[in-house]
Each structure stands twice: as structure tokens, then as C-alpha cells.
Symmetry: C2
Subunit: 212 residues, 2 copies
């Protein structure tokens, strides 16, 4: 693998390739051409070839791609061959939904702990782990080699908790709080702003009703 910087647009498309290839693999498909993959995924074959060329191309054109090989290689690029230790901060419905989403474990994201600031729910079990108080956070992160913190708390507390996480030397924050976090650049943040996504849908509904 060469060391050039890959654009975030390409990275954003990789998980979708990985998903489609996993489905093809599960169906027993061994080889697929960029044309077939293009039809299936509704992106142009040239886009697919360009994206794959960022990583050396993954095999000959004409003959098609080896599905299993491509699946494994893209998985490696996505870091899915490594284990990640993940904690969830905020044990409300959203936090519990993520804790219970087994698919993440299959991909190497191991659910290690869940925290909440509400004293009434401390000790309650979420999946197989008890909800812990926030004061346990720093020691827990260090002792359990936690690299990802999932923030499923309202935006009011999120900035302060993010600061705590930075002090605990967390590597990455998967942020569901509806606020943009200010963290040093070595801490990675991936935002899921659900409201933004719903507003985009609303725009498109509005636009369509104006058209016709």
C-alpha cells in the first residue's frame, strides 16, 4: 500500500463497497466485473476503478475482481482486521441501541463499557455490562485500552465530556451529540448529526412538492 493521502470522499465510499462485497460473498459470488458492480451499486464503473486505483487497483480489468480478496483487502484498509475497544457515554435509548447492535462486534468493535451521569441508572445492565458513573471514566479508559468513545448524550454536556475524553487520551470520538466538538487534531471525530440528516430529507420533500 502506498502512503499517499486518500481523499475523505473515497473513504466515505469504502464502507459501501465493503457492504456490497460482503453480500456478494455471502451469496457465493466469486468474481465480479466493475461493470456488474457498477450496475448493482448504481455508481459508474469508472468511479469504481478510480476509487480502487487509490489502493493499487485490486486486480485485472476484463477478468473481473475476486470478490473474497477484494472484501478482505477493503476490510483491512478500513482497519476491520484489528480490534477496537469501545465505550458508550450516555445510556439512554440511543446508547442502548448502539450497545445492542451486534454487527459492530463482528467487525471488531468490542463493547467494553457504558457510562451515564444519572445516578438512578448506575448498575443497571445494558446488554452484558453495568452502567458506570462518570467518575470511573479516566481509570477505565486507561486500564482497558479504550480507543473509541461513543457520545450519545445531549449537546449541553457533550463539550465538557469531550474535554474529559481528550484528557484521557482517547483516540477517537463517534459523536451523536448535536454539536461540533473542538478537539486537538490528533483526536479523530466522526459526527452523526441525525437532525441534519432529517433536515436534508425535509429540504428534498419541500423541493419536490414545489416542482410538482
Amino acid at each position: 500500500m502506498d502512503e499517499k493521502e486518500i481523499s475523505q470522499a473515497v473513504i466515505t465510499r469504502l464502507p459501501r463497497y465493503f457492504r456490497y462485497l460482503g453480500e456478494l460473498k455471502d451469496k457465493g459470488v466469486e468474481r465480479i466485473s466493475s461493470q456488474e458492480l457498477s450496475r448493482l451499486m448504481r455508481v459508474t464503473a469508472s468511479q469504481i476503478r478510480q476509487d480502487f486505483n487509490n489502493f493499487g487497483g485490486f486486480g485485472q480489468q476484463g477478468y473481473g475482481y475476486n470478490v473474497e480478496y477484494l472484501y478482505v483487502e477493503i476490510g483491512k484498509i478500513l482497519g476491520l482486521d484489528k480490534e477496537h475497544h469501545l465505550i458508550i457515554i450516555g445510556a439512554g435509548n440511543l446508547g442502548q441501541a448502539i450497545a445492542n447492535y451486534m454487527n459492530f462486534e463482528k467487525r471488531g468493535f468490542l463493547f467494553k463499557g457504558i457510562f451515564d451521569s444519572n445516578p438512578d441508572i448506575i448498575g443497571k445492565m445494558v446488554r452484558n455490562l453495568p452502567i458506570q458513573p462518570m467518575e470511573n471514566l479516566p481509570a477505565f479508559i486507561q486500564e482497558n485500552n479504550i480507543d473509541i468513545a461513543v457520545l450519545t448524550i445531549p449537546k449541553t454536556g457533550a463539550v465538557e465530556v469531550a474535554e474529559q475524553l481528550v484528557n484521557c487520551k482517547i483516540k477517537a470520538i463517534w459523536n451523536f451529540a448535536h454539536v461540533d466538538l473542538e478537539v486537538p487534531k490528533e483526536v479523530l471525530v466522526e459526527n452523526v448529526h441525525l437532525s441534519d440528516s432529517l433536515m436534508k430529507l425535509s429540504y428534498n420533500i419541500n423541493r419536490q412538492s414545489q416542482k410538482g
Copy 2:
């Protein structure tokens, strides 16, 4: 407002402007220059001006933008001055998290019903509404003028439910199921693929650990 087609990249950025302007408004800020907004939002001032020019520009440069006016206008563009009737299909943790997310109602997205295929939880209350069986879906959509269906079910059932929704003439699907839905183009789909977002974070963690 002119009728030209605005790119989805611009649309994707609009909710973020709306969010920052809402916060400025709440803080009592009356005017803001594109330079100040640029610093706050960490995008270039020229990007902001370009984005706003898609909608006529919203006011003079130099003098700055009227925060309240800009907030209201962007809200209108996003269709937030209209009411949307929303149902949730899948009453698990994620469905319940969305049902309980009050902020959506403030933006005009009214939670009207929740459905599940599991007979054991029918009638159980989520927020203020009972979980209904799937067979109620077609009549309910028609009688309650439902325009948005939120799909918070596993990917196995999602394709079939999406077909049902299309037959019920739903306008839009907010899809959390981990599958790309095939629907006629008049049905709008906005996907929230949580796994894809987590894999992108994993890529960046992996990348950073290789660098340093």
C-alpha cells in the same frame, strides 16, 4: 427564490448553517459577517458566500448578515416552516430513541405513530403512543397524511417494508436499515448507515496509527 437545481453538497451544508445561526440567535447576536461565521464554523468565507448565493445571497457583505433573518430564511428553504407527519417502523431502542428526541417536534416533524412486527410489544406505549401492528400501516398512512416513515428495523425486513411504504404512497423514507433501498424516484430516501460511519472512523484510526 429561483428555481435552479441546488447541488446536494450545498443542501448537506444547510442544516449546519441553520444550527449555528440558531445558536447565535439564542445568544442574542443580531448581525454576523461572513468572516466571523467562517471562523466560528471553520469553513472559508468564500464557501459561505458561494453557498448563500445559491439562494440570492441573503444580504449585504461588509455590513454582515442579519442573524434572525438568515435563520428564518434557511429554515424556510429546509422546509422547517411546514409540518411533517412522521411514523416510526421498528420500536426497538433506536426507534424509541428517535420517538423521544423532542427536538424533531420543535422543527415541525410530528411523531404520529409507531409500528412493529413483534406481537409481544403491540400496545406498549412509546412516548405518548401505543405500538401498532404492521397490518395497521396502510390505513394509518392514508388517514393521517403521513409523509415520512422512519425505518429502524434490521436489514432483513427493510426491503419488504419499503415496498409496502411505496404502495402506501409515502413521500419519504428516513432509512436506518443497513441496506440501500430500491424505490421509485419520486420516493425520497435519506440513509443513515451507522456502520458506514463507524468504519470511516476505523479507517482514520488505522491511518493515524500507521503515520505515527
